[in-house]
């Protein structure tokens, strides 16, 4: 029964996480309000827009019960601007969307996928945490809701290339003191690089630790040899005991 997977989320698990993102739909059929496990679902009344989870939006879309409004950052205009920003700034990722304020009571701060970064009124100029997964899923299930799906797909691919090469170039500085600024990096991108990057860091750490141990051993040895004269006697003593 134990999970046979290594630590770190796998791509399907990241996609599962992404399906909790809120998106805006225009329902084509009425749906009464439902008491779901993750909170109540408001009734859907066409043609009123409604923000619902992506998994539900995809379910409705596949059954032709709703149309999905692509988020404002997922169109040719915004993506071109972001792609330009990515190519101009060679060593940083484009900044993530602005965060809503911290809840005032002592609840957990909200983090993706529960931030409304992909609804119709999200920021048009920033890629949210699940940009790649969400874009792919919408293009796959709801390409007819896009104005230029092929163009959008091409831009997404371009963005992915540029950003992956930035992530890869960061690998060179992975040694103990190195650091990469990862602001704005996406969930799937972390998932893709995770096993390699953590593997390299851990490998280097172990090499570093054994070197450190060797150095300590040598120091200890030298300190011991420092009391020369007694060292020889010590060995003899041990021989006698055997």
């Amino acid at each position: 029964m134990a999970l046979p997977l290594p630590p770190g989320l796998t791509p399907p698990e990241i996609a599962f996480l992404c399906e909790m993102e809120l998106v805006t739909v225009i329902p084509r059929q009425r749906l009464e309000g439902l008491e779901l496990l993750g909170g109540p679902l408001k009734p859907l009344n066409p043609p009123q827009r409604s923000d619902i989870s992506l998994w539900l939006a995809l379910l409705l879309k596949r059954q032709r019960r709703a149309n999905i409004l692509p988020p404002p950052w997922l169109n040719t205009h915004s993506l071109t601007a972001i792609l330009d920003h990515e190519t101009e700034h060679g060593d940083t990722f484009s900044p993530p969307p602005r965060l809503p304020p911290q809840p005032s009571d002592n609840t957990l701060p909200i983090s993706p996928p529960f931030l409304p970064t992909s609804t119709a009124d999200a920021a048009p100029d920033a890629l949210p945490y699940h940009w790649l997964e969400l874009g792919e899923m919408l293009l796959e299930a709801a390409s007819d809701d896009f104005e230029e799906p092929d163009q959008v797909r091409k831009l997404l691919r371009g963005l992915r290339e540029v950003r992956m090469s930035k992530l890869r170039s960061g690998v060179e500085v992975l040694d103990a003191a190195g650091g990469i600024k990862m602001n704005g990096v996406g969930g799937m991108e972390v998932g893709e690089g995770r096993s390699f990057i953590t593997g390299v860091i851990d490998g280097l750490r172990k090499i570093g630790a054994s070197r450190e141990q060797q150095r300590k051993d040598r120091d200890a040895e030298e300190a011991e040899n420092g009391y020369s004269g007694t060292a020889g006697d010590y060995d003899d003593d041990e021989m006698d005991m055997q």
């Binding site: 029964m1 134990a2 999970l3 046979p4 997977l5 630590p7 770190g8 989320l9 698990e13 599962f16 996480l17 399906e19 909790m20 749906l31 009464e32 439902l34 779901l36 496990l37 993750g38 909170g39 109540p40 679902l41 998994w55 539900l56 379910l59 059954q63 965060l99 809503p100 304020p101 911290q102 809840p103 005032s104 009571d105 609840t107 957990l108 701060p109 909200i110 983090s111 993706p112 996928p113 529960f114 945490y129 972390v190 995770r194 990057i197 953590t198 860091i201 851990d202 750490r205």
Partner: protein, 183 residues
């Protein structure tokens, strides 16, 4: 802070408990899947979630006979969500079981140490699993070969001689951590 921030803050405060529990459970799942060591058992959260799942299953069973197409579709939505929730809970528990299987003795010691604090490390059923699994294992070991060894070499949790037999997860392992904001 402008008017949007104020409005958003009100919206956050009025989030229903169910939604907050989903967020908390999701976070616990991600943390458990990525952390090298086992994390504290979120007892209250799991009680609430499991109780809700149980009620939802009853609801689905009640209404399955209903062939009215409208109710039928409602049921599909409810069932889809139920399955997603069950996956989340199951994957969370299985990730924990995996860690228990890998480092049983270390985790048992940690759990015993955590009993004094307000939040024990394992749930009662996890502890039961660990104890009975471990009992079976050591029984099997001693029946098949350990009993042939000298008594001083029969222990499975020997810590003498500078090397501990109790395996520990690599707690220094590199992980990715998301910082939604820097205070």
């Amino acid at each position: 802070m402008d008017i949007d921030d104020l409005l958003a803050e009100v919206a956050v405060d009025s989030t229903p408990e169910e939604s907050r529990d989903l967020q908390e459970l999701t976070r616990a799942w991600v943390a458990e899947r990525t952390a090298p060591e086992i994390l504290n058992w979120p007892e209250e959260l799991m009680e609430r979630v499991l109780e809700r799942v149980r009620r939802q299953i009853e609801l689905v069973e009640d209404q399955t006979g209903n062939m009215d197409p409208k109710t039928n579709f409602k049921l599909i939505v409810i069932q889809t969500e139920l399955e997603r929730f069950k996956f989340l809970v199951r994957s969370f528990l299985r990730a924990r079981l995996n860690k228990i299987d890998q480092h049983p003795l270390h985790i048992r010691a940690q759990h015993t140490a955590s009993l004094d604090s307000t939040q024990p490390l394992l749930s009662p059923s996890e502890l039961q699993y660990l104890t009975s699994h471990q009992a079976l294992l050591s029984q099997h070991y001693s029946a098949s070969f350990l009993s042939q060894f000298p008594a001083s070499l029969q222990r499975l949790d020997d810590t003498t001689g500078g090397i501990s037999m109790v395996d520990k997860p690599d707690e220094d392992r590199a992980v990715f951590r998301q910082m939604p904001r820097i205070e």
